[in-house]
Assembly symmetry: C2
Homo-oligomer: 435 residues x 2
């Protein structure tokens, strides 16, 4: 047999594009859950999503070639859900339930494609926006972020020789395994991969997910938010809902009272679609303090909370106290931590809350994009940046997130002031956002 | 193009043996240099080589399957020097000299094959001996050691899943690169690979050699003792001579005076074949103190010394002092350190001797077989052992090495006492031998 597979070599020469997103399932599971609800309840709402690079010192438009970015975005627009993928969505159990997606929704989904995008350069950044129906634009969030982050990794490694690349990935694997060994010491840990959007690359995320599966076992590593990786590796697809739900509902609210009720309207809408372990509250869109203060009592009956912008211990304690005030036993409840976790933080929260509340960890950037110290020479381009794709407008009105951390707030300044006037500013404390 | 290369898959299924030694050039360069001299001056001498496992707590016969060992040894015996290899030996420059190997020797070498071996199990160890003409048996040393060490690595990793293996090698690469980065800080370092005999595996040695080539550059990484890797990677093939020369000459010496002169006879024999940078003295076969004390003055005109069994600084200082006593300037001289080096020892010797003498480092086991801490779980089988293949008899008489370190002495106890009576015991100090 020849040493060189000539056909493969020639095929490799003819590559026009090495696609970053090869499947519409290469997205976070919560997008599909939210999509079904948006499709059912808000099919006519317009929503604009916009890329926001919180780390403006990184000039993305200088690091990433516009032609390559357009080629990747264009390629993603050619994708449809595949036959096998549709069958899996219909036949698989999610969170213990069969047929979580209705046949009508799946029929619609089979024809889905990503809508057009608007891209221009400004001040060294890319202005990347997606205008259109919410039920279409929402699906750009994850692929857009994954594409930009992976193009940035590729640019970072462009000048590396094959040997240096081998060292980079060897070190990253060794580093990843150190983390696995530390996490193995936490026997009741429940952790999952939430790292799609910020991943170094698809192949690296896949390696990390397989590492966690083999290293921690399925008792501890409970699944991945990435639907494609869940399908391919027989893992649970995990995730619930995101800030875009209260943000859009608040933006389109006809009056201030409706705006104030938007966070609870979201929960009622959600409950009309999903139950059980999917009843997870994301409380911080307009500040957790305000959310808890004004919450109807039935909110305390939900399965759990995902505090997403306060430090884990502080945020968790606040919710535990609130459950207790509402007469619920926190030991029956679930806290999902997913904000900028690293192993130190996971260990700390695990020990802090162990026995007092059920916990789960959704591990993101530090799982799938931690190459710090892995390059043979310093390369800041390998460091992840705080890049998000947020809903910025709904039906022509500005969308706002206040967050518990003012550094993570998004939206027009005047509109933020208005929201603060409505929800209050209590409990919002600045913390540096790195990822 | 098909995802699976069916022909390759089927070919892989039909593997009967994955040979460890695939070429007679997969040996240390000094064996070829010594071989030419043995062929020219001692073609009739018989010499027996014997495997010695200094770490008897490791029961090699339990770790390594006898059938596999025989299959590998038998395969090595089928090898001949290839046409390309012979052309390279004839046409390449070694140590700056063309045609270092004579046409007559090369003609003889073209027909060379490894002689038979004798293998049996005793007390959990393998007794592996090579009887025959010195000019044949000498060539077994390196392949025999490489085969046993690699079979041991393979056994150590037999139960590992593909993912655990990936982590093992990722960690080993990361670890190796840490060493490269430390060595890069020593700008005038001259270092080479001497790790063939103790290597984890051939492929791993190749990776390490390529790592050093790319990481340190050819100014610092001066070459490899492995002839095959030197040829394949356009590196210098390095090495001079070994203890077997004085050991055999001492064993066959007709009287005590000739025995006492054997170490210097070796040098005169050597000089009749090689000059320049190949004029390196290996002084410790019967103790460096005795060697220096009795050395004729012309020995001080040789290019350098390779102190091989004393701690680097102590051993180096002893030789520098001797050069000075003999009126030579150590700054014109070369010290080659090659005994159990790790990066700490290299750094220490480099800084200690910098500017006072020329230095070169021959890096062995810690370069090509350092998997300590790389396995996801503790695995003592991955730790290298102190395995040697030494001449044990010449023309029916026992061969002895005293060494500067009594722990490294080899030979019959009564005969060792006789040698100590002849050469003295001064300066011989025990140090733990780990590799």
């Amino acid at each position: 047999m020849p040493k060189t597979d000539i056909a493969r070599r020639v095929y490799n020469h003819t590559w026009k594009l090495d696609p970053i997103v090869r499947s519409l399932l290469d997205t976070d599971f919560y997008k599909l859950l939210m999509l079904q609800m948006i499709w059912g309840l808000y099919p006519k709402v317009d929503a604009t999503f916009s890329l926001i690079n919180r780390k403006t010192s990184v000039r993305l438009a200088d690091e990433i070639d516009e032609g390559e970015l357009r080629a990747q975005l264009d390629h993603a627009r050619t994708l449809r859900f595949g036959k096998k993928e549709m069958i899996w969505l219909a036949g698989n159990s999610f969170y213990g339930s069969k047929q979580i997606f209705s046949p009508e929704f799946l029929r619609w989904l089979a024809g889905f494609r990503l809508p057009d995008y608007h891209l221009e350069k400004r001040d060294g950044q890319y202005e990347l926006t997606f205008h259109g129906k919410w039920v279409e634009t929402t699906m750009w969030e994850i692929p857009a972020l994954a594409i930009i982050n992976e193009l940035r990794s590729r640019a970072a490694l462009k000048a590396y020789g094959p040997f240096a690349l081998d060292v980079v990935y060897a070190r990253a694997k060794a580093k990843m395994w150190e983390k696995v060994e530390r996490l193995k010491l936490l026997p009741e840990l429940r952790i999952s991969d939430f790292g799609t959007r910020r991943r170094h690359s698809f192949l690296w995320q896949r390696w990390c997910v397989e590492a966690l599966k083999e290293g921690l076992g399925l008792e501890v590593f409970t699944g991945t938010s990435n639907v494609l990786l869940a399908m391919d590796n027989d893992l649970e697809a995990l995730g619930t809902n995101a800030h875009e739900l209260p943000m859009v509902l608040a933006a389109i609210a006809p009056n201030e009272e409706a705006l104030k009720q938007a966070p609870y309207q979201v929960l009622q809408d959600w409950e009309s679609y999903y139950g059980g372990n999917l009843k997870i509250v994301l409380p911080d869109a307009f500040g957790t303090d305000a959310f808890l203060r004004d919450a109807p009592d039935w909110v305390a009956d939900w399965t759990g909370f995902r505090p997403d912008s306060a430090p884990a211990i502080e945020g968790g304690e606040k919710i535990i106290k609130w459950w207790q005030e509402r007469g619920r036993d926190p030991r029956d409840k679930l806290l999902i931590f997913s904000d900028g976790l690293d192993v130190d933080m996971i260990e700390e929260a695990y020990h802090h809350f162990h026995g007092r509340v059920r916990m789960a960890f959704g591990w993101g950037t530090n799982l799938t994009n931690d190459f710090s110290g892995c390059s043979p020479w310093p390369n800041p381009q390998l460091e992840p940046i705080s890049l998000v794709c947020k809903v910025s407008e709904a039906d022509g009105r500005p969308a706002v997130k206040l967050s518990d951390n003012p550094e993570k707030a998004t939206g027009d300044a005047a509109e933020i002031r208005r929201y603060i006037r409505i929800f209050g500013d209590k409990g919002r404390v600045s913390h540096k956002v790195t990822v």
